[in-house]
Every structure is written in C-alpha cells, then in structure tokens.
C-alpha cells in the first residue's frame, strides 16, 4: 500500500518550494530532508528543546510540532534566512559570535530564530527580558550565560543598523 502524498507549496526564506509529502511529514523533516535546509535541527521531536524553532509568519514555532501540510500557505523563516541581504551575518548571528553564545551549535538555530522574533517585538530588552525570551530553549553547552548577553547585544546591533538606515 502506497502512502498518499500531498502536493504542497512552502514559502521558506522568501523562496517558494514545491514538495510532495505524506500528511504525517513533520515540518522539521520537510525543511531538512525535502528542501535540504539542514540548518533547522531536531533535538527532541516532542516540542521541549526548541532546537527546531522556525518563524511562521514571523512568530517562533516548533517545526517538530507542525506537519508540513499545515505549514503550506505560511511564510517560514529558518536560520538560513537570518543573514542580511548582502550576505553579512544578521544581528543575532553576529551577536552570538561576538558573545561566544554557542559551543556545539546544535541548539543555536532555534535560539537565533526565537531571538530574531523576540527583539523585533522588544527592541531593547533588559537582562531579565532577555532571559525570558530564551526561556523555552534548551542548551547543554553554554550554561546560557553568554546567550543572555548575546540577546542584549543582538538588540543593540539591530538598533544600530536601524539607526543607520
């Protein structure tokens, strides 16, 4: 018995993709294996760790808790879509590098997407607000100290680039 597939159009990082997927295909797997966007990582597949977080219409969501078929029609942003148009690192990416906000890098994409949405909503977070922003993402390497610093630094970089524009 062949499993039925669904033709879907996924808009990811501003690019339209077409794929034929079974209904049960998780969005995380579709991004990674059907579209080859392997920057989104899978850490638990039960929605707790946050490594697979992507932006759906600008809001952070767990891509392991959505089916690809349900994501059709929404604008998805993954870590691959966070660089600036000229290819330079985006503010959150740059801040993570400057602040040593990552070690093994596996959880990092989920933090980067979450914080990108977070500083868009709150462009000048306090340290407590920064902590709150990443409170749903697990990291096993950094002890979060430098991630919190990176949130504040990312907001600062984003404000600076906004001012330049």
């Amino acid at each position: 018995m062949t499993e039925q597939t669904h033709e879907i159009r996924l808009s990811v990082n501003g690019v339209e993709h077409e794929a034929a997927v079974p209904a049960r295909r998780l969005l995380s797997d579709a991004l990674r294996h059907d579209l080859g966007l392997t920057g989104t990582h899978v850490g638990c597949e039960h929605g707790v760790c946050g490594a697979c977080t992507v932006l759906v219409d600008g809001q952070p969501m767990r891509s392991c808790l959505m089916f690809a078929v349900s994501a059709a029609g929404h604008e998805i942003t993954t870590v691959e879509g966070l660089a600036r148009p000229d290819g330079e690192l985006g503010p959150v990416q740059q801040a993570f590098r400057e602040c040593h906000g990552l070690q093994c890098g596996f959880c990092t994409p989920g933090f980067l997407t979450t914080i990108t949405a977070g500083i868009a909503e709150n462009p000048d977070p306090t340290e407590d607000e920064a902590r709150d922003m990443v409170a749903g993402n697990l990291c096993r390497c950094t002890g979060y100290q430098n991630i919190v610093k990176a949130v504040c630094r990312a907001a600062e970089i984003a404000r600076e680039s906004e001012a330049v524009r």
Partner: protein, 796 residues
C-alpha cells in the same frame, strides 16, 4: 610584531558556519541515504523466545530487516570490551543485536533499513517478538542483595572488586581522636547532548572502500572497530567526524551497535545508509552515569586533619561493561581532591543491573568522589565546631609539596602524582568571591526578612590530559596557508580556534591563514579521542610540537635561500626575514622551494623546477629530508596533569515551599596557562549548568521493573536559562603544568565536578539538616524537613 594569540579572547572560526545553519552534522550529510531504525527491548530482563519479521518483508520501502541470526563472523560476536582491567573479572558486553537475552529496556534487537525513517518505524511496529520475562535487577541495593542475577554466570552481580591503599587507614582511624562515619549517595543522570548519536555510511564498490560519518568522540576508535567487525583492512575504512552536537562522554563509547550495523548495511545494500537516534532512544539505549552509594569511615585530629580515610562504595554500571572500570577508578582516586589524608583505603564493587550501561559523563566519577570528600570535610567541621574552610585548609597539599604523589594508581595505569597547584591561594580567592568571612551577617539580614540562606564550598582536583598520545600534522601550502590536522574530534570546544592560536604563535603566521581539521582519519589516522579534558593538553601540545618542526624546516630552507644564518631569521605574519634587514621570503615561497619539481604548473612552481632549485651536484631531496613544507609530531606524556578548582554557592531554601533558589555562584579555576579565556569560561559556564542539573533537577527514574519513567525532555529536567545562576563569577589561577610545552591543563569537565558537593553543603547550611543524597528536589527537601524538623520549631 604579530600579537600573541595564546591567551587572547579570539572569536571562534567555527561560528560563522554554525550561526548560518551551514554546519554539517551527521544527519545533514548524504541526503540520498536510506534510513535505519532499531527495534528495542520493551523489557528490562527477558529471554527472547522467538522473533517473527515476516510481516515486515512486504512493507513497501523496506530494504532490510535483520536480527542476530543475520549477522556473521565477528559481527555475531559480542561487542568489544574496550578497556579491560585485571580486576574486571566478570566483564560482559552486548551483541550488536541481542542474542537470546535482553538485559535492559532499549537494548537493540532488530535493525530495519527503509526509504525513510517513517517507513522504518512502521516496519518496527510489525515485528513480533515473544519474550520470557525474567526478574529485573534495578538499583544498587537490588544488585548487592543479588536475589536475582543480571547475568547467570556472574555471581553476586559483581563484575569487579577493586581495592587500593596508601598507608594503614584502619589503624590510623582506630588511633584517631575523633571518628565519623557517613553514608552518601548519588543518583543516575546522563550526558544528554542536544544531538543524539548518528552514523552514516557509504560503500564505494569501485574502490572497495567504506566511508563512515559518525557523531563520535573518537573517529580512530570507530574506524578500528568497524574494520575489525566487518573484516576489512584498516586502510579500507575512512571515518569522518563532522560537526558534533555535543558529546560530554556518551559519544566516546564505541562502537555502538548502529556504528557497525549501518556500515554493514551500506556494504550489503550498496546504498548510503543513515541512522539518526531519536530522543527517546537516546534515553533508553545511550549511556548514563553517576549512580553510586558510598560508606565513609574517617579519623581526624582536633584541627580536623584527616588521619585516616576508608571509603567503601558500590558502583552501578548497568547491564554491560564495555568501558571497563574507568568511572569507579576515577572516583576512588580523585576523591582525594586537594587533600593529603594520613592514610587512605578504598574498595569498590562494580555491579550489574538491568539498566542502560554506564560510561563516563563529563566529570566521570569525580562529581561522586568530590561529593563524598567534601561532605566528609563538612561533617568534620560540624563535629569540631570549626569553620568549614579552615578544616579544608589544614588538609591541603601545600604549594611546595609538588610533585605530590598520592600513592595510588590512576585510571590510565599511571601514578596519581599531582604536577602542580596552589590550593591555599585558590581558597583565598573563592572566599573573597563569596565574602565568606561575612556570610553570617548576610544570613542574619536574610533571617530578618524571614528568609533562609546557606553557603556551600567544594574543592576538587582533576586529572586531565590522559595519554597515551595525540598527534598532529602541519602543512604549509605554497599559498602560505597552513593546513593542520589532528586526529581527535571536536564537539563544541572550539578546537579549530584554540589550536589555530597555538599554530599562529609558534609558526609566526596569521591566525586567519591556519585551518584546523579534527577527527578525520584520512588526514590523521593516529589518534585516541576527545575525553578526560585532554584535547587542549594532548592535541594542543602535539600541534605545538608539529608546528615547531615545520618551523625548523622552513627556517632551514629560508636560511639557504636568503643566504643567512637560521639564528638570524624570524617569521612574522607568514614572512621569513633576516632580523633587522629587508631581506625576506614568504612562507609560501619557502613551501615552493621545499618541493623540487619536474613540472611547472603555475608561476610559483616555476621557481621550484629542477633547473632552478638546489645544488646540481647533490640529490634534489637530501637523504635525511623529504619534499614539502610539512611537520608531524606526537605528544605522549608520562602521566596526567592535574587541574583544580573551588566552587562556592549561596542558596535560599523557601521556608514554605522548600524551593531552592541560587543567589550566587562563584568559581575559581586553575587549568594552567589559558589558550583562549573566552572558550575556557564558556566551558565552565556549561559545566556549572550541568552541575546545577545534576544537583537539583536531573535523575534517571527507573521503576522496579526497569522501566525508565522519564525518558523525555518533559520529565528529565535539564535546566533552562531560568534554572541556572543569573551570573557565574569566575576567577582564574594559572599554575602551569611542567609536563607539557605550553604549561596547560585540561578544562572541559571542571565546571560540573563540584556541583552536587557545593549545593549539598549550601542546602545543609541553610536547613541545618544533613544532606547525604543528591540530587535533591523541593519535594525531597520537604520530606527531609518533616523527618528532621529542627527548623520546624524555630520558624513557627
């Protein structure tokens, strides 16, 4: 002059790809691969009566389904016992796929290869296994009682009993003015890297070669194991370690069943095959650590000086012993920390249980040892009514006593001889960081607000950089770029950055021009692995030595070309010059000259053709030389180097709810010379967070039947940002190691070691009731209050 890179907070070269999402982790490679899934035992202990895979064979998209019957030759034999030890009299290892019996929930029984993981899991659901259930042995008490046996042929469930002494501890305790005995317990936890295990393999029939990518802490170890098990020559197997999403110990164990089954499937099916472990599998099939029970007898004098110490402990190593006795040996030796007891005796039993195997998890037996020793120090202080720091101070090895021989044999079979350290200076620093001497004022102020606070201190010494060796190969290309390979692997420690700093300094090249490759057996086939805080010490030293060799050769060739004396040359930013003159030659050109050529293929190589280079009366390559500007060297130390540290923590225990809040966390750390302080501090941060997890949140909760009750991130409580200290205050001491050329000591595991000890001390100090088992939850603290209740009268 080029700025010195060693000691600088250099940003990591790894980060650009990792923050862009263009890192390559094992599940990212070979998108065309078939996917494997493993049927795992639902029972802790059972005989396999039959396995029926018929229903799988006609599932569309399934390419293979194997049980033990499908394995041949060495693959059908038990997995290797990696680290045998004379006292490991009853070592047992599992089969790649269970043969006749399963000994823990999660043990591999059948292996399916399918078009994708979804279909592979559909297939697993159709395999029918008939089991005859056997009684499960769960927990140290059940293992010791030995009413039931894990393995029929292992009496008492005891795999090993080991004993070491230095002096006559029993006599010293008997003669001591004061004695105490304590029973102390630590529960199971696990490394829990964010990326689970994973392996991809591709067989190339044209070359008869196997290429394996695996998320491992030892690519050379996996290579040797795969070659041996599949009956291939070592030269037919390449193992490549891509980006690894954390290890913390669990990925040093090898080969995991899947690390053999995937290559075998690739070979048999002629297709790339991938196994990506999911989180539930990681909980029930990848290694755990920490569970031990300890009984301490100690004798001491009026100052708190330990005259005799006798420790008996029981180590739960789970169902099998692939990694030997490393964890309990480390506990039994590193327990001594910075102290010099008059006499010491230790004995442990390593016990089988029907649970997941136990192998080193960051700290590797040290957190338990530190907990035991530091609880003992606190108990001595309490007994004598002395300051807890003072009692520690009288027991310290003094700075003028190094090298200090503890009179024991360490995990590497070498003497437990500390190379350097300054524990009194360290204690002074940690006391200052937490304002130790004024804590009673703080306590009183908090008490006035109705709050209860406590302060804990824990000290440790960590043997780092164990042998046997690591090597490095340095190659300066004609472009002047420097390609460096070392065999051990990286899983987030920033080796590409730290090692490049070492090379830049030694060679005099720009940091940006150095590229480090780790964990690729094609580039460096001789290596051991990344564990025991050894990478910086071992590969760092090897790289330094290899760079030095390369530099010597470069200077020799440049001296010829510049018609100068070697001693008059210097290399700055990749250019060799005669000091104080304009005479210079770029290293890239030196590389050209190092390789006499027959053919010219670009402008640079024209300079090195046979008509241009060398004395026409001599051989183009001298007898004792070889072409190319390369250097290779190995570092093999006589024994480990000993890092040390002290942590202090202030907690508040909620008077009503027994919640435990961290008010302050401070670390003083000595890992010798720092290569990159930013990276070292990051390691400490991460270690501290795992220490918090181990002390307050994480445990493997098995029920009596051997089912793991919390095999998910919902219920295995790894700290989020909201559970770790808001800040960690760190101070460094740099006591260089005399054992290696850079004076460095390992730093990877340090942060986690004293966690449970420090929190237990702080909670005990706040609550005035003995804390003898960790981790501790609010619910458990509430229960302790109910049974002890000194505060109950005080507070209400």
């Amino acid at each position: 002059m080029t700025t010195k890179m060693m000691g600088a907070k250099v940003q990591r070269v790894e980060d650009d790809r990792l923050v862009r999402g263009t890192g390559r982790y094992v599940d990212d490679v070979a998108p065309d691969a078939l996917h494997a899934a493993v049927l795992r035992s639902p029972h802790a202990h059972a005989r396999i009566v039959s396995i029926d895979v018929d229903a799988v064979l006609d599932v569309e998209g399934v390419h293979a389904v194997w049980t033990h019957e499908d394995l041949e030759g060495a693959m059908a034999e038990p997995l290797p016992l990696l680290i045998p030890h004379p006292t490991l009299t009853h070592g047992r290892t599992q089969y790649a796929l269970a043969k006749d019996e399963v000994n823990h929930v999660g043990e591999a029984i059948a292996f399916v290869v399918a078009d994708d993981r979804y279909v592979a899991e559909d297939a697993l659901a159709r395999i029918v296994v008939e089991y005859e259930l056997l009684p499960a042995v769960v927990g140290i008490e059940a293992a010791r009682t030995a009413t039931h046996l894990v393995h029929d042929d292992v009496p008492g469930n005891v795999a090993a009993r080991m004993e070491q002494s230095n002096g006559d501890a029993a006599a010293a305790i008997a003669a001591a003015p004061h004695t105490l005995s304590l029973d102390l317990k630590i529960e199971r936890s696990a490394c829990m890297p964010m990326e689970g295990r994973g392996t991809v393999a591709r067989w190339d029939p044209d070359q008869n070669r196997l290429q394996v990518w695996t998320s491992t802490q030892t690519s050379t170890g996996v290579r040797a194991a795969v070659a041996a098990k599949l009956g291939l020559d070592l030269g037919q197997v390449d193992v490549i370690t891509p980006d690894v999403g954390g290890g913390f110990g669990v990925k040093i164990v090898h080969p995991w069943p899947e690390e053999l089954l995937v290559p075998l499937a690739a070979q048999r099916l002629g297709r790339a095959v991938k196994f990506t472990e999911d989180r539930r599998e990681h909980f029930i099939s990848s290694a755990h650590e920490r569970a031990q029970m300890h009984h301490v007898e100690v004798g001491f004098d009026d100052e708190g000086r330990v005259l005799g110490l006798d420790v008996r402990f029981w180590h739960d190593h789970g169902a099998y012993t692939p990694y030997g006795l490393i964890v309990p040996i480390i506990t039994s030796t590193q327990l001594l920390g910075p102290y010099k007891p008059g006499a010491y005796h230790v004995q442990f039993d390593s016990l089988y249980t029907n649970t997941v195997i136990v192998t080193p998890y960051r700290g590797a037996g040290r957190p338990q040892g530190c907990f035991v020793m530091e609880r003992t120090m606190d108990a001595i202080a309490a007994e004598l009514g002395k300051d807890r720091a003072d009692v520690r101070a009288v027991n310290f090895i003094q700075p003028d006593e190094f090298p200090y021989d503890q009179g024991l044999i360490f995990q590497d079979g070498r003497e437990l001889k500390y190379d350097s350290g300054d524990y009194p200076a360290m204690l002074a620093k940690i006391k200052e960081l937490v304002d130790w001497d004024h804590f009673e004022d703080f306590r009183a102020a908090k008490a006035a607000e109705g709050k209860r606070v406590g302060l804990g201190l824990a000290c440790y010494v960590e043997g780092t950089g164990v042998g046997p060796y690591e090597g490095a190969h340095v190659h300066i290309e004609t472009s002047g770029k420097v390609k460096v390979a070392t065999g051990l692997t990286s899983q987030g420690q920033g080796h590409q950055t730290a090692f490049a700093q070492i090379v830049a300094d030694e060679l005099g090249v720009r940091f940006e021009d150095v590229e480090i490759t780790t964990g690729d057996t094609r580039r460096m086939p001789y290596a051991v692995g990344t564990f025991a805080s050894r990478a910086a010490v071992m590969s760092g030293s090897a790289i330094h030595l290899a760079a030095k060799r390369t530099k010597e050769k470069a200077l020799r060739i440049a001296a010829d070309a510049l018609e100068a004396d070697v001693d008059d040359l210097e290399i700055v930013d990749g250019v060799v010059s005669v000091k104080g003159t304009d005479s210079s030659i770029p290293l890239g050109t030196v590389a050209v000259l190092s390789n006499p050529l027959r053919y010219a293929f670009d402008e640079a190589s024209k300079a090195a053709t046979q008509f241009n280079v060398g004395d026409p009366t001599k051989p183009p390559v001298a007898e004792d030389d070889e072409p190319g500007l390369e250097g290779k060297d190995f570092y093999s130390p006589p024994r480990s180097t000993f890092a040390s540290g002290m942590h202090a923590v202030i907690v508040e225990t909620d008077v009503e709810t027994a919640e435990i809040r961290i008010l302050k966390y401070a670390v003083v750390h000595d890992c010798g010379h720092l290569i990159n302080p930013m990276i070292v501090e990051g390691q400490i941060h991460g270690g501290v967070a795992q220490g918090v997890g181990g002390a307050l949140y994480e445990r493997m909760a098995y029920d009596e039947s051997g089912q793991l009750l919390n095999a998910s991130f919902m219920d295995f409580l790894m700290p989020y940002v909201t559970e770790v200290p808001a800040s960690i205050e760190i101070d460094h001491l740099e006591t260089p190691s005399p054992l290696n050329p850079l004076g460095i000591k390992g730093a990877g595991e340090a942060g986690v070691i004293p966690g449970s000890a420090a929190f237990a001390a702080a909670i005990e100090d706040a609550e005035r009731l003995p804390i003898t088992a960790m981790p501790i939850s609010p619910s458990e603290l509430f229960a302790l209050r109910a049974t002890h209740a000194p505060h109950a009268q005080e507070s209400k």
